[in-house]
């Protein structure tokens, strides 16, 4: 069973040192848990992040350039540096996405390490949930 309170605590732990928001959502962009300054911002980030992930997933699946028919060649992480901040998106399970939004002071390497750690931490319990959905 998933405990929403614990997931929020995990996400809150990631929201330090320039990370303004940490979100857990499904592939459609519906939020499951989040740590963000406001609900509105979290919903906007989640909707756009899910859309971005699906755009890249579709393009990589269609041309098969980086897949070579092997699962280990799937899309793992997206990083989007913007003028006023940076966004990172990863998929801890088939149906779930994790998104971190940081300000411009955040180093890309630290952001990558953080999202990989959160994603790894959440992957096992989320995989169990995904198996019920299928």
């Amino acid at each position: 069973m998933l405990k929403p309170k614990v997931i929020s605590q995990v996400l809150r732990q990631a929201s330090t040192n320039g990370i303004n928001a940490a979100l857990l959502m499904n592939a459609g962009g519906s939020l499951l848990a989040f740590a963000a300054p406001s609900d509105r911002e979290a919903r906007i980030y989640a909707a756009i992040a899910a859309n971005l992930w699906s755009t890249y997933l579709k393009s990589s699946n269609s041309d098969a350039a980086f897949r070579n028919e092997k699962q280990e060649d799937d899309l793992r992480l997206l990083i989007l540096p913007c003028e006023e901040g940076v966004v990172a998106i990863a998929a801890p399970s088939i149906t779930m996405l994790v998104c971190l939004v940081g300000d411009k002071s955040v180093d890309l390497g630290m952001l990558k390490a953080k999202i990989e750690a959160v994603s790894r931490h959440l992957s096992e319990p989320l995989e169990k949930v995904a198996s019920y959905q299928q």
Partner: protein, 121 residues
């Protein structure tokens, strides 16, 4: 020196550090300049990558973080770094273990070549 030659000269040092391909395309995926290693994955010239970038670049600019400059996609064995240089896109394909930060600095050196190309467009 032709534009192709100067693009090649600019990207050549990065090929020793894990870069597999460097492409300069428009937003529809038409290749303007290219420099591809024989070990590069197949299908990297597929326009789907560039069109995905132009859609994603536009959407990411609406997140409230001002304009999106680049998108880094990390796959199992490769990483794709796409840098916006309106109206063109620089696409770099490298090993996933390669130093991403180094590739993000490529467009600063490429500015003169790009300015000439953008003017001609």
């Amino acid at each position: 020196m032709t534009a192709q030659e100067s693009f090649q000269a600019l990207t050549q040092p990065y090929f020793e550090k894990g870069l597999k391909a460097a492409l300069l395309t428009d937003r529809e995926g038409v290749v303007v300049l290219e420099c591809i290693s024989p070990e590069a994955p197949e299908g990297i010239k597929d326009p789907a990558l560039s069109t995905a970038f132009s859609i994603a670049n536009n959407q990411a600019s609406k997140m409230g973080l001002k304009k999106n400059n680049s998108i880094i996609g990390i796959y199992g064995t490769h990483q794709v770094i796409q840098i916006d240089n309106y109206p063109l896109i620089i696409t770099l394909v490298a090993l996933s273990t390669a130093n991403t930060g180094k590739y993000l600095k490529v467009p600063t050196g490429n500015k003169t070549t790009l300015v000439i190309l953008i003017k001609t467009l």
